[in-house]
Symmetry: C2
Subunit: 333 residues, 2 copies
């Protein structure tokens, strides 16, 4: 109830509100003696700046938004960690939005971010609708795409080469002797899922196989539970020699269901995940996976975004594309 304003601080310190504001925002501009007096008043009264008022007047806030597809996925928490670290180094706060794979929730989150007049937005878009992001840009909110290639040249983006990743993963499975391969994937509206599939087909063609023979099992969410469902279906309809999963959560679910059904991994079925989350190494059969520079992805995206916000005239848009790295473990021994 007792929020104290800059005016009361000013009165208490015997100066004008403008001076208090200066102490807060450009301490250099105010004489050391008065500054100390004001700072004392601030402490004494427990003053907390009203962020909304300052955003309103200043026209922008020191806040950025981060919108991810699934905060329950360790991949994204790792990205978020990178974002948060870099943002707080540069004096920005982060508002996190989780779209949970739903376009509706993503829209709601973007609206909340717009209303907050965030300085910029980092987003891993869940669908392919650049228009909504363009609208943000028209409103003066910078957008950097994370784990997604740029929609347009005048935009920053930080991504990982998913086609190369899919190709490397399946090439690895093929090199272990597998000939029939299933691809367990989330919704094929998700770009990553589509590109990893494309990479998988490239690898098959390169090995002299018909890409059309890639068996695709599509599930609704990219969670361990969905992975179990997919595996149950594979078991019912006949197992392939190898399974490539669009991410590690799916792969862990597949693994769990296979083992429960008495299927041996990798003897009966070889298994590959994607993302190399921490838990991949600790699972029942340690999981081969494609490692991505997750934390770096977050840090660099944030750096690009804030450079764009803070130095608009010198900023040069960049499209950064990392290469994923194969990590072979027991599941493809």
């Amino acid at each position: 109830m007792a929020m104290v304003s800059i005016k009361e601080v000013a009165a208490h310190a015997g100066v004008s509100p403008g001076t208090v504001s200066n102490v807060l925002n450009r301490p250099g501009k105010v004489a050391p003696a008065t500054r100390r007096r004001v700072e004392a008043a601030i402490d004494e009264l427990g003053f907390v700046r009203h962020g909304s008022a300052s955003t309103l007047r200043a026209g922008h806030s020191r806040t950025i938004g981060l919108s991810v597809i699934d905060i329950g996925n360790p991949f994204f928490t790792e990205v978020a960690a990178g974002v948060e670290d870099m943002a707080s180094e540069l004096g920005y706060a982060v508002i996190l939005g989780n779209s949970a794979g739903s376009a509706g929730k993503e829209d709601r989150n973007l609206r909340v971010l717009s209303e907050h007049r965030v300085r910029g937005v980092l987003i891993t878009p869940s669908g392919e609708d650049p228009a909504r992001l363009d609208r943000l840009r028209e409103h003066g909110i910078s957008v950097v795409l994370v784990d997604h290639p740029a929609h347009r040249p005048d935009q920053c983006a930080v991504a990982v080469d998913d086609v190369a990743g899919g190709r490397a993963a399946v090439a690895h499975l093929l090199s272990k002797g597998a000939r029939s391969i299933a691809y367990v994937t989330g919704p094929l509206t998700i770009r990553q899922c589509v590109e990893r599939r494309a990479g998988a087909k490239v690898a098959m063609r390169a090995a002299g196989l018909d890409p059309a023979d890639l068996r695709v099992a599509e599930v609704e969410t990219m969670t361990a539970r969905a992975g179990e469902t997919a595996a149950t279906e594979l078991i019912a309809t006949g197992l392939p020699e190898a399974v490539f999963c669009a991410n590690d959560l799916l792969a862990l679910g597949v693994l769990r269901a296979l083992l429960r059904a008495g299927v041996r991994v990798p003897e009966d079925v070889a298994l590959m995940g994607y993302d190399d989350i921490d838990f991949a190494a600790a699972s029942a059969v340690s999981l081969s996976s494609m490692r991505q520079p997750t934390y770096q992805l977050g840090r660099i995206a944030t750096e690009l975004l804030l450079d764009e916000c803070d130095n608009p005239e010198t900023h040069a848009h960049q499209h950064i594309m990392f290469q994923p790295e194969l990590v072979a473990r027991e599941s493809t021994q």
Copy 2:
């Protein structure tokens, strides 16, 4: 750049700004014909309400804060999921803060939340310093403790009985025949760690053992990596018959290090975790753990908080204490 204000909408629709505000906030108060006209103007101009301005004028925002200890821990992402679902059902947005175990970061996050004039804060405090939270309350920001018992009677809190959990976990290990037990824990400044240890000692005393014999291995963070460190140390100094870990991440790390060192689980060492995160069931040796109603924790805490905010006169403070549940798997077979 082209953020349109309520004034432009008003001009475009041929009404006053006040009427536009009414359309936004109490559509019932405005005649259907004008409302439609205003709504058309809003769509046409792509108007987005300036949240800061409205917070400033209204004195409060429809936003709550959630401050957790470690967003990398699935336990907290599950809590966050519950919070977000309930909050958005009630029309609130959530700002997430991750203290990453550091009191400094927690302070910074609370400051950011204060500056945003959030309506209330949900927090799993990382240390024991009720004073900082009292300061929030003095500022008119409601606080509900999550996974932590109340500091004071006039406050809501939602917790799980950690003493009972620690007791049940160790009683289970003892029932499997273990006599020497090690407790791998995060910083003993964290309440959960302390109480689970207290519970462990209760169980030992009940079994006729000396509680002082509980070997405590304290590590700095509650991550899998820290668990590996702890296990390495245990191996070097002599293994106990059973290990109880303060959470599943630690347990997974311990498990990984033990297996790598050729120690069999549970034959040589029985192992228990805590939280029953999804990955516990999928690990190399599936992990026995203590299950908590995590998602519910988040939902209920949010419900209490928003009831306190929206109905301050009828609100009754509640202290809710859930009981954890033992889940026995291979690691304690």
